[in-house]
């Protein structure tokens, strides 16, 4: 058992060794985008190249600075320097040059050098903060991402980690934590935008002793990866947020809910939990207080609906992730019928900073009704795809054109797909819409998970909508028949239209199906399942009409091939043998 001051002392000493010691500190971006860019091969090669040259150095896997387009980023801090030099798009073959020129000889290799970060300028490269992709960011939830190693709890503690927990436990108490959260006006980042402080306060009076905090990192939305990026870059921020939620609501256990197969976030979160237990930050009598809390990782199979809060609870219990009826609400009867509060990763990641710096500081960021930052994932036809944490209130156009660098190749922007597949599409007129909960809703869009997929002028709307509808059909859990059958009908119609075989009445039928689904489905998946088509009909009706009337696609798409999963639930020949019906008839 260690007190906070003891932990902080050790952490500060270690941080000093890293940043002011006599060995270089090399950090490599290995978040999922870094992984896809070859980050792990680069870090292995760095270790062997250094070994071959007998150079002693600290080498760490870190998360992401948000600049996914430049991954793998190799970030070198040399002894005696106050600035880090970043290299971009590093390949294994570039490493000998980087090591020989910069680490051994102190000259800046021109080829892959990207920018410097720190107080002391480095000749020949710009300050990273003057590059809009980094400079426009205001990083709160992701403040440590890309800067510290997620596998080292001391690096987190040295950067004010667990200071908020210490403050909550020993200075301000549980009630004030909830008051601060309410005053900060933080709204849940899972999509619905419900005030977090209020949500926490519902749980305070629920009967104990067993109460759960669940953190939702299911994040099945294609085009969004910010939750996973937080877990991969800085899992301790999330743990601290969960501890604060647990302490202020009187909860006893926490679950971090992640999709199976996303190995990076899972491994790093599990490792973080292990370290926290070792240092007495989790478990019994945390940091010597009388507060005890346990956290474990709970994995789910591939199911998009598992991200819905009641379906998530079913999945944690090990069942099919199908939504439950509400009421009872989770705060009254959640996981195993115990009181439960479910928050998104981003929401919880803000909590430590709010408690540490005060609600006033936080509500000063963003707009009046949507405080704080938005974490946008820019993908698709965009010059600089990445994860950008920007203050709420910037317009979509500012984020896309200034931060994201606009549409490359001299093409124009045609459509935006926001808030996950259910969010539908927007046209170029939406660039003036401000990114906050209310303005986005008024424009008929959802910010939701933070995914912003950009399509250029060559993107076929009908083709893209077919993908979104396929996704929604494939991912319908099947509990409510309007969603289960409605999505299947919608997909049939969309496939027909995209194959240039649509019938004149198709769009009316879609409309009617959509209405039924909205009224008759339990969760947002069915309620919003029509949204992709509805939004496309609002902004791009002429393209549908051209498909129906003239049997052609205005973008010139002629191929009718389409690859998608064939069955809603894939089953093999082997499995078909044991369909229950056959079993019954064989009895």
């Amino acid at each position: 058992m260690f007190s906070y001051d003891e932990l902080k002392g050790t952490a500060d000493q270690r941080w000093k060794d890293l940043t002011q010691g006599d060995m270089p500190w090399i950090r490599v971006g290995t978040e999922m985008n870094g992984h896809a860019a070859g980050g792990f091969q680069v870090i292995d090669a760095i270790r062997s190249e250094l070994g071959a040259r007998n150079i002693a150095a600290y080498v760490d896997e870190v998360g992401t600075l948000g600049l996914s387009y430049a991954e793998p980023i190799v970030d070198v801090l040399k002894p005696g320097r106050r600035s880090r030099l970043l290299f971009r798009d590093v390949l294994v073959d570039d490493l000998p040059e980087i090591i020989d020129k910069y680490i051994v000889n102190d000259s800046v290799p021109g080829n892959k050098a990207f920018a410097y970060l720190g107080e002391e300028p480095i000749q020949g490269v710009p300050d990273l903060r003057t590059i809009p992709q980094y400079g426009m960011q205001q990083r709160v939830a992701m403040r440590n991402a890309g800067h510290i190693a997620p596998a080292d709890i001391y690096q987190y503690i040295a950067n004010d980690g667990y200071a908020a927990l210490n403050k909550a436990l020993f200075e301000i108490g549980a009630d004030t934590v909830i008051e601060e959260m309410k005053a900060s006006n933080l709204r849940g980042r899972g999509g619905a935008g419900f005030p977090t402080g209020l949500k926490w306060s519902f749980m305070v009076n629920s009967p104990g002793p067993i109460k759960y905090i669940a953190c939702n990192c299911e994040e099945g939305d294609p085009g969004a990866f910010n939750d996973k990026a937080i877990l991969e870059s800085d899992p301790h921020t999330l743990l601290e947020g969960m501890l604060l939620a647990g302490f202020s609501t009187g909860a006893s256990n926490g679950f971090v809910f992640i999709r199976h197969g996303h190995d990076g976030p899972i491994d790093r979160t599990e490792r973080a939990i292990e370290q926290a237990y070792e240092l007495g930050i989790l478990g019994k009598n945390i940091m010597g207080s009388d507060f005890s809390f346990d956290i474990e990782v709970s994995l789910t199979g591939d199911s998009y609906v598992a991200g819905e809060e009641t379906a998530l609870m079913e999945s944690i219990e090990g069942k099919r992730s199908m939504p439950r009826f509400k009421p009872p609400f989770p705060a009254a009867a959640g996981i195993w019928q115990k009181p439960t509060t479910i928050n998104n990763v981003k929401t919880l990641a803000y909590a430590p900073q709010i408690i540490l710096n005060g609600s006033e500081w936080f509500s000063g960021i963003g707009t009046e009704k949507s405080t704080g930052t938005a974490i946008a994932c820019l993908t698709g036809h965009i010059a600089y795809p990445g994860i950008y944490e920007v203050p709420m209130g910037l317009t979509i156009g500012q984020v896309i054109n200034t931060v994201g660098g606009g549409v490359p190749g001299g093409k124009s922007l045609k459509l935006l797909q926001t808030g996950g597949p259910l969010g539908g599409v927007l046209g170029p007129d939406s660039l003036d819409v401000k990114i906050d909960f209310d303005d986005m809703a008024a424009a008929g869009a959802i910010f939701g998970s933070g995914g912003l997929i950009v399509g250029n002028e060559d993107t076929s709307v009908v083709d893209l909508i077919r993908v979104l509808v396929t996704f929604c059909q494939y991912e319908s859990c099947g509990k409510c028949f309007p969603c289960r059958l409605g999505m299947t009908q919608l997909l049939d119609i969309m496939e027909r239209i995209a194959r240039f075989e649509g019938k004149p009445e198709d769009l009316d039928v879609c409309e009617r199906l959509g209405k039924t689904m909205q009224i008759g489905s339990l969760c947002a998946h069915g309620q919003l399942g029509f949204n992709p088509i509805k939004s496309a009909l609002t902004h791009f009706i002429s393209e549908f009409e051209e498909h129906l009337n003239e049997r052609r696609d205005p973008t010139g798409r002629t191929s009718t091939k389409f690859f998608s999963p064939k069955a809603t639930r894939p089953y093999s020949e082997d499995f078909r043998e044991v369909q229950p019906l056959e079993v019954i008839s064989s009895l």
Binding site: A36, A224, F225, D294, D302, V467, Y571, V578
Partner: protein, 170 residues
């Protein structure tokens, strides 16, 4: 209904042979090895899938015994989540993302050519036992779209040509 559960037998189940018992042993070990405090039907299925790459039918019974659920319940969960497979995959598993980010960046061509080089029409196993092609709704690296994964190693900014080269070199 009770009777149905009680009489639930798996048609075509292999006779109890030594090989079969070995498989069951491995399944039991995989289920017992779970380090998480909360063990459920789902977590046991995931542990089995991690160990074998698919869910052998024997695992359904073993998990039912271990968790106290009925085999029906275990089948119910196993058939719901889309990552569970019931046949043994080939040597290498190639997953290609078909989500909207990857789609507009060119995933369809990759799927088409990857399937062609594997000699299959879409998702499935190649005849030579080398590769299994699966579609994935999101591999999580959308900023590097289009993304494919070969045996859990992600590759971003793929083109059909590069993907085919990677598959051929397996």
């Amino acid at each position: 209904m009770l009777c149905f559960v009680k009489n639930f037998a798996i048609p075509g189940a292999r006779d109890l042979t030594v090989a079969n018992e070995d498989l069951r042993d491995r399944i039991r070990q995989a289920i017992k090895r779970q380090e998480r405090p909360t063990v459920t039907v789902l977590s046991s299925l995931l542990a089995t899938q991690d160990e074998f790459g698919y869910i052998p039918r024997e695992a359904i019974e073993e998990i039912a015994v271990y968790t106290g659920a009925s085999t029906n319940d275990v089948w119910g969960v196993a058939s719901f989540y889309k990552n569970f497979q019931f046949t043994e995959p080939n040597e290498h598993v190639i997953e290609i993302c078909w989500g909207p980010s990857c789609h507009i960046m060119g995933a369809p061509e990759i799927i088409e050519e990857a399937a062609e080089v594997l000699g299959i029409e879409g998702e499935g196993d190649s005849v030579d036992g080398k590769g299994t092609l699966r579609y994935n709704t999101c591999l999580g690296a959308c900023a590097r779209a289009p993304v494919i994964s070969i045996d859990h190693q992600l590759y971003g900014r793929m083109t059909a040509k590069k993907a085919v080269e990677k598959i051929k070199s397996l």
